[in-house]
């Protein structure tokens, strides 16, 4: 084979290779695009991410369950249950899967100082999904609080609130 023929063959082989690679890219790349988008249309489009709005927690009406913690611990998970709703002002669903408990407030600080009630350990687990622009149903998280054994007699029939922070992620549509 002469040098000229060899050059021509190389040139042709490269061109064929490029064509094949390009075709494969178009076909397979088209597959990716099809997997992500099913709508078709023409014209211009613009997209802007929404700004997440922070959700709020609101207390519910609790069922009386808390009492001084026995030495061996509460026999059930009922005592110390907390109730609340959480609203999701965002246009997408959110799943909250972690809860942090903060300061406790007593409904009768004089007869039963808030220090008598503490967040229980271990911290309870949650899994709360809230629809877009909606408020959850009443959520009950058991065994969230504990009452000290030394709690005074005035701690009977008192309502407590605890600061709750929920964290999670948006749910892909």
């Amino acid at each position: 084979m002469t040098t000229t023929t060899l050059r021509r063959f190389r040139h042709t082989a490269r061109r064929r290779l490029l064509v094949v690679v390009a075709a494969a890219a178009v076909l397979l790349g088209g597959g990716v695009a099809w997997a992500a988008w099913t709508a078709t249309g023409t014209g211009t489009a613009a997209a802007q991410a929404v700004t997440a709005t922070v959700a709020a927690v609101t207390p519910g009406t609790p069922t009386a369950s808390l009492y001084p913690r026995p030495t061996a611990g509460y026999p059930t998970t009922g005592p110390g249950s907390i109730v609340f709703t959480v609203n999701n002002p965002n246009p997408y669903s959110v799943t909250y899967n972690a809860i942090a408990l903060g300061a406790v407030t007593s409904g009768n600080e004089g007869a039963c100082p808030a220090v008598n009630v503490v967040p229980a350990t271990p911290t309870p687990t949650v899994s709360i999904t809230v629809a877009p622009n909606a408020t959850s149903t009443l959520q009950t998280v058991p065994a969230a609080l504990s009452m000290l054994q030394s709690a005074p007699n005035g701690c009977q029939g008192v309502t407590f609130t605890v600061a709750v922070t929920l964290t999670g992620t948006s749910v892909p549509a």
Binding site: A13, G29, V54, G60, M147, V158, T161, L166, S170
Partner: protein, 144 residues
């Protein structure tokens, strides 16, 4: 020889391209997820109120040289579990029966016997309260 090398190189490149693009095609499209958190907000809880024991009964046992009274009542439950103790007092006086009379300061069962009810003519009355640590419930209805 040179032709064979060129063809091999071309085929190798093609194979690599197909593998890479094939991997892209089978990878699911990326989806974004935002972290979300609430502002700290209040959740509510409430403590129970002890109730008074019910079903108080008094049984007098008169002997030749002694007279005792056995007091019994129904258990008070908190969260479905009996409270750990009760305080028995003489009705109307609020005085807790001393240990020497058989009903210790805190009774851990649902009955006790007052062994010092010597006056056969007297009518002894009793009240029982549920006790949970420092908590004391309301008295039962007194019983003779």
């Amino acid at each position: 020889m040179e032709v064979t090398r060129v063809v091999r190189r071309g085929l190798t490149s093609l194979a690599v391209a197909v593998v890479v693009l094939g991997g892209l095609a089978t990878t699911p499209p990326a989806r974004a997820a935002w972290s979300a958190a609430t502002t700290p907000g209040p959740a509510a809880s409430a403590s129970v109120t002890l109730t008074a024991p019910t079903g108080l009964t008094v049984a007098r046992n008169n002997g030749v040289l002694s007279s005792t009274v056995t007091v019994s009542w129904n258990a008070v439950l908190v969260d479905g579990t009996p409270v750990p103790g009760y305080r028995v007092v003489l009705g109307g006086s609020g005085v807790t029966l001393p240990t020497t009379r058989g009903c210790t300061t805190t009774v851990t069962t649902t009955s006790c016997t007052d062994v010092f009810a010597l006056n056969l003519l007297a009518q002894y009355t009793y009240e029982v309260r549920a006790v949970v640590n420092n908590w004391t419930g309301p008295p039962s209805t007194g019983s003779a």
